[in-house]
Symmetry: C2
Subunit: 481 residues, 2 copies
């Protein structure tokens, strides 16, 4: 008899309760980057601990130098493999608030989607695993594997304390593989196993002219305008015609795409015109010679995430501002290295900086209220995961169980830096089972998660546990002479 059947029944019978739990979770504005949300972040951690306990896991909130980590576990049968699940309970800021159709921290279901900040990234996806564990325990009195759950509260600020925490808790975190649900399906109804992630370098540039704001009439023309200088610098970081990034040596280590991979990208369901129309952009644009899927998942890029300076209110103010700044993210692909690219960016900006202004460049922490002047530029390296491991095979089967379709193997444009940490510090492979969709508006107003994908995700997570157990069993048996 199918070992999963009872668990699926329990999941189905508890659909309403599972939705209400997710709503509770989403109502907590755990925005990790905002100092004023510190207590809300803690509240989310404690909520998650309780949820793990309701699911039959032993759970605790463990302190770090920043926001806490939630750790939970439940032992499986003797000799069963151990699955470590990673997720994050912190969310991006909700700004600009005016653009939300319903308030970001008051979740609602509309047109079959759950709308709230964090619905897709990552509370909704992370909670699937807790729900799956709870259903297993209620249906079968226990889990088919030993399950460990590690949920952090600093993913959206670059996980500054996680690597050390993991290194200090090696024994606690011992496992056979890591499962992460913080990515997307290939398309609606087409689940995906993500085997590639782009890396990330995020830096801020600040330009200062005069020591105070000046009247643009009285002083305009006499000194360099820092906004103008900033625009000149930023404009020289990307070639508009080719779409190529002009940071010194940016492409030196980029591994060319293999023919088989470009073939596989072409086989994915994608329509440029539909994509463009959903985004509402006048035209698509990107690096010449590559398709949209390649540009957004398998080629490196540079984006200005924010810019500021001078008068921004309605109307006119004739000011020659003293300060301008911009935040820049670079997405990296194998074999680029985050530290090298960060250094190259700093070097390039310094080379482009006119001497008539002061130009500073570094990680955003350096310019924040805490003013960590010694914060060093860095980021996350890109990742390519092996596709032929028992865990990847288990994930493939589980996704098919959960979503009713064979998964595609895809690369994702975003970064999940902890994937590298697990490999480097614990020697563990991750499987990336994404339950979101590309148009979920993660990091943007009106973030959503398809309600049905939440249920499918719970099923796929539940299935993964038993598929891992089955494969480990086969491996054990195969070893027996």
């Amino acid at each position: 008899m199918d070992r999963l059947a009872h668990t699926i029944e329990v999941l189905e019978a508890s659909a309403q309760r599972r939705l209400e739990e997710l709503f509770e979770f989403l109502r907590i504005p755990s925005v990790s980057t905002l100092p004023e949300r510190r207590e809300d972040v803690r509240r989310a951690a404690w909520w998650l601990k309780d949820a793990c306990e309701r699911a039959g896991l032993a759970a605790s909130v463990l302190e770090t130098d920043g926001h806490p980590v939630v750790f939970a576990q439940r032992r499986g049968p003797e000799g069963a493999p151990t699955v470590l699940v990673y997720g994050h309970y912190d969310v991006q800021p909700a700004e600009p608030l005016d653009d939300w159709r319903s308030p970001p921290f008051e979740p609602v279901v509309r047109d079959g989607n759950i709308y709230a900040r964090g619905a897709s990234d990552d509370k909704g996806q992370a909670l699937c695993w807790i729900q799956a564990a709870g259903a297993w325990t209620r249906a079968e009195g226990g889990l088919p594997v030993t399950l460990k759950v590690l949920m952090e509260g600093e993913e959206e600020i670059g996980s500054p304390n996680l690597e050390r925490w993991i290194a200090e808790h090696r024994a606690l975190l011992q496992a056979d593989c890591v499962a992460v649900s913080d990515s997307d399906q290939a398309a609606p109804g087409l689940p995906a196993l993500t085997y590639g992630l782009r890396g990330l370098v995020y830096l801020e540039v600040r330009v200062r002219g005069a020591s105070r704001d000046l009247h643009s009439g009285a002083f305009g023309g006499g000194i360099m305008n820092p906004i103008q200088a900033l625009c000149d610098i930023l404009s020289r970081l990307k070639d508009p015609a080719s779409g190529r990034v002009l940071v010194d040596g940016f492409y030196d280590r980029v591994r060319p795409l293999a023919d088989w991979e470009r073939e596989a990208f072409r086989a994915l369901p994608h329509d440029d015109e539909k994509y463009r129309s959903e985004l509402g952009a006048p035209m698509l644009y990107g690096e010449q010679g590559y398709t949209t899927i390649e540009r957004t998942t398998a080629r490196p890029t540079l984006d200005i995430c924010g810019i500021f300076g001078g008068f921004q209110g309605p109307g006119a103010k004739t000011v020659l501002p003293s300060l301008a700044g911009a935040k820049v993210s670079m997405r990296l692909v194998p074999d680029q290295r985050a530290d090298e690219i960060a250094e190259a960016f700093v070097r390039t900006v310094r080379r482009l900086a006119p001497k008539e202004v002061e130009v500073e460049v570094g990680p955003p922490e350096r310019f924040g209220p805490a003013g960590k002047k010694d914060a060093r530029p860095g980021g996350a390296d890109p990742v390519i995961l092996e596709r032929d491991t028992p865990w990847a095979r288990a994930a493939e089967a589980a996704l098919e169980r959960g979503f009713g379709a064979k998964p595609a193997f895809i690369r994702a444009g975003g970064s999940i830096p902890v994937v590298l940490t697990f490999k480097r510090v614990l020697g563990l492979d991750c499987v990336l089972m994404g339950y979101g969709l590309k148009d979920d508006a993660a990091h943007a107003p009106n973030e959503k998660l398809c309600l049905e994908d939440y249920h499918r995700g719970c099923r796929a997570s539940a299935a993964f546990l038993v598929e891992v157990a089955a494969r480990a069993g086969r491996r054990e048996r195969a070893k027996t002479p």
Copy 2:
């Protein structure tokens, strides 16, 4: 006996009261560009009406389609000339508030300066004229000329309703000349008669990419980033090497500086290194081939006054924003025309706009909360005033009386568009008697007016009234056969 002596005595005896009155005026946050300050702007108008009445003028607050106009007058002796005084009681926004050493609307005297938003621009300078009239009336029981006072509340938003109001009140405003104190001395202790003003065109550029903010990981590389597009456009509006503006045809009508004028500029007290060090800029910068005084008063220029887009908070948010915008001011010199330059700017930005984004350009009102979609680009033409009129000679003598030094003839970098309106609509010449200093930080944090300059300004204003009367008398006598 000197006709001015009693009036000066009265001014000196009332120094403390006159300072307290200015403080009252400065405490009213009459920021004309902010809708939430509407009532404060009205309050400033009514305060000013009362002040005029205390000075012996008949005064009224007169409505326009925007903020009201304050008009006041007092008849002089039969046959005496009529002086119209223009000023404005509205002020610039005080932001960024954090940079003020004392709150912008809580005036204080520190190191011999009055610190407050509007101290120099223009409440302090405008009030000098009311104080002068009050002193005359108390000292002599009346004025040596007929005085009319016109103070508007929309100067800092481009005086959208003033021209029509002036045209509709031609008879009321009939006069022989206009006196305006809304500019600077040549240097501390060196008063100035300003004979040239730069024109102004102020436009906003908005760039839209996708219809919502996107995750820079999932979508970065697939569509054009509107901040990048905006920077590319702005960067192509000025040549960094030559400092020249690249708006199409920008210099076509610029009148080359005459040798005598460049000579006169060189004779003005100015030290580049002192100027740079006071501004706190690493180096001076401007159009190649011109001095700082020429660059800031007699050559046209372009400045980005504000820029915005994406995430601006502390920390990092990996967003590919949907919108970016910038506010740009251009300062014009004879014989550039504001309407032509505005059109040229719009045309140039459209030419530079990539087709992968939507680019809109127009006056800031078009993008404000009221969304005046039909607002047309425009601005103020530059001005050169005649130096050899009885009113200019009277101003020269009055400034020497008030400041104890012969005034310099200078050009100013800012714009006083109403100067053109008075000429065009009423056929009147203005005299520009500036009581401020270049480093008064008009439009910037820590705006100030030198306390002694307030007193000198009151004296110079009082002297102007009698100097005009004397010259008109001489003219009348000269006409008698």
